[in-house]
Symmetry: D2
Subunit: 339 residues, 4 copies
Amino acid sequence: MIVGMRAGATKIEIDDVIQRANSLGLQTQLNLGSDRTVIAILGSNTGRLSTDIFAVLPGVETVTRIMKPYKLAAHEFKEGSSIVSIGGVTIGGNGIVVIAGPCAVENETQLFAAADVVKKAGANILRGGAFKPRTSPFSFQGMEKAGLELLARAREKFGLPVVTEVVDSGDVKLVSQYADILQVGARNMQNFSLLKNVGKSKCPVILKRGLSSTVTEWLTAADYLLAEGNTQVILCERGIRTFEDTIRFSLDISSIPVVKKSSHLPIIVDPSHASGHYSLVPAIAKAAIAAGADGLLIEVHPNPKEALVDGLQSLTPSDFTRLMQELRPVAAAVGRCLV
Amino acid sequence: MIVGMRAGATKIEIDDVIQRANSLGLQTQLNLGSDRTVIAILGSNTGRLSTDIFAVLPGVETVTRIMKPYKLAAHEFKEGSSIVSIGGVTIGGNGIVVIAGPCAVENETQLFAAADVVKKAGANILRGGAFKPRTSPFSFQGMEKAGLELLARAREKFGLPVVTEVVDSGDVKLVSQYADILQVGARNMQNFSLLKNVGKSKCPVILKRGLSSTVTEWLTAADYLLAEGNTQVILCERGIRTFEDTIRFSLDISSIPVVKKSSHLPIIVDPSHASGHYSLVPAIAKAAIAAGADGLLIEVHPNPKEALVDGLQSLTPSDFTRLMQELRPVAAAVGRCLV
Amino acid sequence: MIVGMRAGATKIEIDDVIQRANSLGLQTQLNLGSDRTVIAILGSNTGRLSTDIFAVLPGVETVTRIMKPYKLAAHEFKEGSSIVSIGGVTIGGNGIVVIAGPCAVENETQLFAAADVVKKAGANILRGGAFKPRTSPFSFQGMEKAGLELLARAREKFGLPVVTEVVDSGDVKLVSQYADILQVGARNMQNFSLLKNVGKSKCPVILKRGLSSTVTEWLTAADYLLAEGNTQVILCERGIRTFEDTIRFSLDISSIPVVKKSSHLPIIVDPSHASGHYSLVPAIAKAAIAAGADGLLIEVHPNPKEALVDGLQSLTPSDFTRLMQELRPVAAAVGRCLV
Amino acid sequence: MIVGMRAGATKIEIDDVIQRANSLGLQTQLNLGSDRTVIAILGSNTGRLSTDIFAVLPGVETVTRIMKPYKLAAHEFKEGSSIVSIGGVTIGGNGIVVIAGPCAVENETQLFAAADVVKKAGANILRGGAFKPRTSPFSFQGMEKAGLELLARAREKFGLPVVTEVVDSGDVKLVSQYADILQVGARNMQNFSLLKNVGKSKCPVILKRGLSSTVTEWLTAADYLLAEGNTQVILCERGIRTFEDTIRFSLDISSIPVVKKSSHLPIIVDPSHASGHYSLVPAIAKAAIAAGADGLLIEVHPNPKEALVDGLQSLTPSDFTRLMQELRPVAAAVGRCLV
């Protein structure tokens, strides 16, 4: 951590900073610049300290981190790539995983039709929401436990592991009895109570990026899961909130190489929630693979016109089947393959 | 809801939209424009419908809401201003309420010193966090139940109602036994499970604006509380995430007149979390009052240099006392007074 | 245009809206909804009208566009794709064009070394800045006319068309004497005086997206060029300003399919300015091709360590040569090829 | 400037950084941290250097500025407050200046009616646009020279200095013959060619903040004006682009105390362009004064319903007269007065 003093800071103010550091067991080194003094705070754990500790002291103008605030998600903690294995499917290796299915589980017919389509088209994992976080209390809130049971039956019938969202820490136990992977949604990325409970469950988890979270905050949220001993963490980029109004969220394509550079965790991309419109899903899905993503999370509905939730962003069975065919050469072009 | 068809949409496509509307019990009216056809979907409940229902149909180019998605928080549902009463203090009337105290409850000495200062300076309600949502799992997470007990003792000793944050739906019962007002933090604004439980508790609640939530989403989140029968809802603007990097969050001053125009709920402002720096708090606090806010939520620490959390944004006792004196003439200038 | 009246709007207020429309030569149609009245303003030119004309009238609550504000850049004006031809190179067809070179022209040695590298690696057009828009007045501002002369000599020597930025409407004549393509930079996207002059020049032009401009505003800015009769317009996505702080700008990958859906103009991508860091350029470049971009604009410097401007985002010769090889299979995977 | 090396950086990499600094005439100081080495680059001019110079070197992970990139606008260059004097009106002292008038000069009747109203209500300076930067080429572009002549006649008749926008460096000479203050609009804040010419003119200037510019970039743009010897620079906050959609731009109220802390330049606020809606102007105007702004720039139209440009954000004569009365006690509450 680097503490920049104001021009004209007094010796007492400088000494105060040094004493504060020493009281925390940290060493310092002084740079007496021509214009202003800079104090380096040394120690391997300064990434965990709040910058406020020094910023609040008189005479201090700036405090800058050199260490990252996340630890366990960082390459400094673990080199290479973490690989998550779910029922024979691995995420984070050379293969590219496709997770597909409806936004919400609506009934057996709909879910089984979707599972059949995505299985035949080559998807590896089935998705479907039983607990739905909805912006308005007057919208459909999901089938809850009945939806989980349908998912479990679909898993058995189609031989696909299933992923579903958990929205409350009190539900983690229940949901993890049915799901192979828990999903923590974008609006819950900093619901730390939920993160701790999902971490304790040791169940594989997809951690969606918060819609206005920086990559650094996202990886620090992953530390909540990792700190509880859950190492099966998959990151999911799903678009961030910007001023652009022709799409629902702006997919941050750069987050893929940035995460690869900083972290050992696998990263997948959700082009459906990012764009909010089926016609934009194929271009974003191909871009994600080309940029190095480890997988995709795509919404598919047997009949989007009748979907209870998010029909506009769902692919039809034929659109999804065509997209799967188009993805194969893109994966090959970057030296990978759909698993 | 207004459905704009693509130029050249066929009669069959237009009829499909009309049939979809009719199947939902809604009437339509057609505008055969010179370039393209526009279909108005009529009915008093269209604000609750997803625009996707029509956007997904062939030949549709745009779907636009005329009705707002929130209902119970809107002026259309209740004219005038809702007033929330807590232990003799009213929020939402002509008086301006000041809620102050430390970010986190650290120990009895710190909390009581803070309570003493804010009481003497004229604050009406004491704040203090017992459960702390922290970006990193390695940061101080709050005193939890012991903190709640200290808050209850401070209430008794200083005669100030207390507000504290609840971060998990499983804790609502516990926290509402100690607190006069529950606070739902910015990162939990769309934790719908928490909102439902806080709504059911009927306990007065401060709903902070999500850091990338629109005013419309914020008022729709308030509908979750109101829909459970909890009418004691106070909104709190605390800054939104933007590109600006000299402050932590950009306080959206316009949200005050926008909320006043659209909703009957009282709105207060938190200049401490918005700015992240004590030196910016007074200017923002005065601006909030001048713009029409019903109150302020300000962090005060007996010794910010030693604060475990957010010391940089906390006012010292003398700074807070001076600010309270400066706020009085501003309140008077807009025809109000500190209560 | 759709005008939504407030609930309870009077007949006089409704008639005022109708009269205002009629006074502009526009027809209207009325929807007497159960809750509120909606008035459709009909006519093929309403996209050019400001919504304020109606929003300012008493009793009006919302005014919504159905028509887009841009005309000449829209698919409604011209179907298919516009193709821009520069010295035998075509942009906007099936081939993918690569424009490469240094950020700024520094001297003959540097420019010619860069031109040699990019030519050998297979780039089609040489870029280099002679007039540099710099954030600070104390930074290097470019070689100006001497830089243009070097670019012209490089064109002759290496047989590559050249593109360079023009920053002032007074310079358009000068720069177009030397350059094959004029570039309008992101910070000048809404310098309408410059756009008009570049439009009049009829010189092919790359219009970079403003760093906080929506796609709609960008296409409307293109209308300034097209309205002057300049049909050789190439759009360039170069990242937008967001809250994310691990990169300089967030490349909006979705803008590629959005532009393709809305406009006939070709679109290229600048991964160098978007990311600000050489290590992120390859992933973004591949993603852009996979998403359907018609070309790339990439910074290459013979020795980035010594670059006067933007060295960090420049590729070395060997990095660029390797990237060109990696791009070919990605282009093939989406049915295209590097030209 | 602080250069953080990657963990495990070699001695050669560290020496390269030191040599690069020395080659630029700068001293360095080394911190051999337990985990990684940090190098401080010392010298009073490092704020003018690009961080890329070091970031591009092998082994470097982060480069952080301690010095600000702006110099002449900074308090370090000039303490206290700069005061700009225009025809007897001073901006930047204890008094608060109100600049008011129509968005665009439309004709003599409209301009003189507006001037009469704002003069009588107590405004100090008349505003009116003759050259209008418009998003679409099909919108009214202003009366140009004829508009300037009307402004000059209004000045004579009503005894008010006039401010008008200049949009092209070729027009600076013309516009400064008529105007008392030149305005550089938000979309031209980084039109550096225009800034240089306005700087050379020595004419007082209002520099509006770019709609996605940080405060640091804004002050650095002011350096362009100051570097040409023009010291009569007034900053104008007019809202920034965010995701919020109930207003046109989000007024950054915090920029007022941030600018006051960092710079000696006066700052005024434009609530009309920020909000885009007349009903929000009074609240924002009062907030700006309470937060410490030195003045306001407000749009007033004798008949907003008939305005050619931005009618929705213009106050009527009676609304403006009432607002002026409401502003006086707010100014007094913060120890200032309307001049």
